[in-house]
């Protein structure tokens, strides 16, 4: 390679390496996110329109906490948007967060949906519910505990027990009944499965529709997404959503949430974005584009979601579920739930 071309190459690479630090100029905020592009982009566009602050997005399906940790003090990350309490807690454990000090958010977000020390805040909610066959399931109510009842033997479908959505449900069960009882419950649920855990929540609904099983466990927004989809509508139409509750408690909910990066280079803009996500405008978008439950009181839930009936979330603080993450994962291994 001629020397001048080598020099050009070096210059270009240097530029590419330095580019992120150049982006730390005024009027920007860097968002790392696990959320699907089509869900999150309309919201970030609306934020830019409202505030004039440009949003740079880094999107991935896993490993963002590790990435921010590895980037260390030079990390361009300001905000991490993620789903599931387990991941929010992972970010805190990785030491990549700092407390979000916002009186506004403390007023909007109920205490059970934020970190006691302010390291993470829930922005919207989803519930882990039952997709029941319209033809074959007559009962209108169900408890999570009942899923282990032998009357459901060979009738339940669910995705991997190691998936974060199920991990949180099992973590909640541990908090409710203790580890020994939760293990017994998980063994009972395992014994009731129609097939090995696999696929995702949509496949679960599909299997119920095809009659492979009578009830499936899935998240609230998936059912709405199927209901409004061209080729998956049949799966939703064959099932109805039952909002289960814990015995003597409410429905298990999980969060989509936000953390402020420890070394956020655009902290002021990051705080503007985080508070904006709790605004009426953003909360309406969470409800109608993502089919999630708004975290803010008084925002209308989407009609499809409302058709499930009124949600009575369990009173458990989500930080308690997060604390059980490892214990829940170990239980899944111990009972061989996925084997």
């Amino acid at each position: 390679m001629p020397l001048n071309r080598v020099r050009a190459l070096i210059a270009v690479s240097a530029l590419a390496i330095c580019a992120p630090s150049l982006a730390a100029a005024q009027g920007e905020v860097n968002v790392y996110t696990y959320r699907e592009h089509k869900l999150i982009q309309p919201m970030l566009d609306a934020f830019t329109k409202d505030t004039g602050i440009k949003v740079n997005v880094v999107s991935a399906s896993s490993g963002l906490e590790q990435r921010i940790k590895t980037e260390g003090a030079n990390s361009p990350a300001d905000v991490l948007l993620t789903v599931d309490i387990g991941r929010l807690e992972d970010a805190v454990q990785a030491g990549i967060t700092q407390p979000i000090k916002s009186a506004l958010l403390d007023k909007i977000v109920p205490a059970q949906y934020r970190d006691p020390e302010g390291h993470w805040y829930g922005i919207s909610m989803r519930a882990r519910v039952v997709y029941a066959s319209k033809d074959r399931v007559k009962q209108g109510n169900i408890t999570y505990e009942e899923l282990a009842d032998p009357k459901w033997k060979g009738k339940i479908c669910i995705r991997s027990g190691q998936h974060i959505y199920n991990n949180a449900l099992i973590g909640a069960m541990i908090d409710k009944h203790g580890e020994a009882k939760a293990e017994e419950w998980l063994r009972g649920l395992k014994a009731n499965l129609a097939q090995k855990p696999s696929g995702g929540d949509r496949e679960t609904a599909r299997d119920v529709a095809a009659g492979k099983c009578d009830i499936g466990i899935g998240n609230t927004y998936y059912w709405a997404l199927m209901k409004t989809s061209g080729n998956q509508k049949d799966w939703a139409d064959a099932t109805r959503v039952i909002l289960p509750t814990f015995e003597g408690g409410g429905t298990h909910v999980n969060l989509s949430g936000v953390v402020l990066a420890k070394n956020a280079p655009n902290k002021a803009n990051a705080m503007k974005l985080i508070e904006w996500l709790a605004s009426d405008e953003a909360q309406h978008m969470y409800a109608d584009i993502n089919y999630e439950y708004p975290i803010k009181d008084g925002i209308k839930v989407n009609d499809i979601i409302a058709s499930y009936g009124p949600l009575k979330p369990d009173a458990m603080a989500l930080s308690k579920i997060a604390a059980n993450k490892k214990a829940a994962a170990n239980l899944v291994d111990k009972v061989g739930f996925d084997n």
Partner: protein, 306 residues
């Protein structure tokens, strides 16, 4: 032959005075290549015995078994499909042979998990096959009959073999094309049947190619994660992911990864072993293409459908 000239030529070029940067450059390249492996070892050593004990008791045995089953199944299916198709398109002539010979490697272009999605769509309880099955036999639900599940270890073996057999096909076809036609002709003049040609001439000649193709296919099967997860097969690779993300233990994940390196090394050893004492040299001057056996009628249709 070409590799020989390169290995002899390379040191001379790098030792020339104008290339005195070569050594640091090569060290740098080597360091870049080794860095992930070294960091893996370092991370693995950070682990505590508690997580390793848990993994060893509850995770690794099942994952190792699933992985072994997957590799064995993929090895058998890709060998049969890869060698079979390669032999058919090189040693026989039938309508559509030329199109087939370039269509056959195409599955390699599809990401495995996409193929997994497609086959699940087709063969799952709600898919067209089982829907038709239910309609045909008047079953109301998928729970009323037994049907092989695509979301299973055999399903994963099938899906991965469909995607990965071209590794074996390409290597075997190259070998069949370039190996000396005279060996075949001699065998034929001595009265060898088609089957004997395959067993005693073509297959032994193809062994090195089979070793290369198979080891590549198996390495690919080993590193798959998307399809395994979707099909519910708890492979070691998937366990690395779940250990990192769900069990929140990067050291634990690194320890499983180190264990898998042993399998990778074993596969490479298997590949070398498969090629032992078999360096078939083809004299370019005298090379002739294997004469193709024309196939007609039912033979031709069987070949195409295979």
């Amino acid at each position: 032959m070409t590799t020989a000239s390169q290995t002899h030529g390379a040191p001379r070029i790098f030792l020339r005075r104008s290339h005195f940067f070569a050594v640091p450059f090569l060290v740098l390249v080597a360091a870049i290549v080794i860095a992930p492996l070294a960091s893996l070892a370092v991370i693995a050593l950070r682990g505590d015995t508690e997580i390793w004990q848990h993994l060893w008791t509850y995770v690794v045995p099942n994952a190792a078994l699933d992985t072994a089953g997957l590799l064995a199944g993929v090895a058998i299916l890709t060998a049969i499909a890869g060698i079979g198709t390669a032999w058919i398109v090189t040693a026989h002539d039938f309508p559509g042979r030329t199109s087939l010979s370039w269509l056959l490697p195409l599955p390699l272009a599809f990401p495995t998990y996409i193929v997994a999605y497609v086959y699940v769509d087709i063969f799952d309880a709600a898919g067209p096959v089982q829907s038709a099955f239910r309609a045909l036999f008047s079953y109301r639900t998928a729970a009323e009959y037994w049907f092989p599940s695509i979301r299973s270890l055999p399903g994963a073996i099938f899906v991965m073999s469909i995607v990965l057999y071209p590794y074996v096909y390409l290597a075997a076809r190259a070998m069949f094309l370039t190996q000396s036609a005279s060996l075949m002709e001699v065998a034929r003049t001595l009265g060898a049947s088609r089957l004997m040609l395959v067993r005693h001439v073509a297959l032994p000649l193809a062994r090195p190619a089979l070793a290369v193709g198979l080891s590549l296919a198996l390495l690919e099967a080993l590193n798959d994660i998307g399809a395994s997860e979707y099909l519910g097969v708890q492979t070691l690779t998937l366990s690395i992911f779940t250990t990192w993300i769900n069990r929140s233990s990067l050291p634990g994940a690194a320890q499983i990864a180190c264990m898998m390196l042993v399998i990778v090394i074993a596969l490479m050893a298997l590949e070398r072993h498969g090629r032992r004492h078999r360096r078939f040299m083809v004299s370019l001057r005298r090379q002739r293409i294997v004469p193709r056996i024309p196939l007609t009628g039912s033979d031709a249709s069987i070949a195409i459908s295979f």
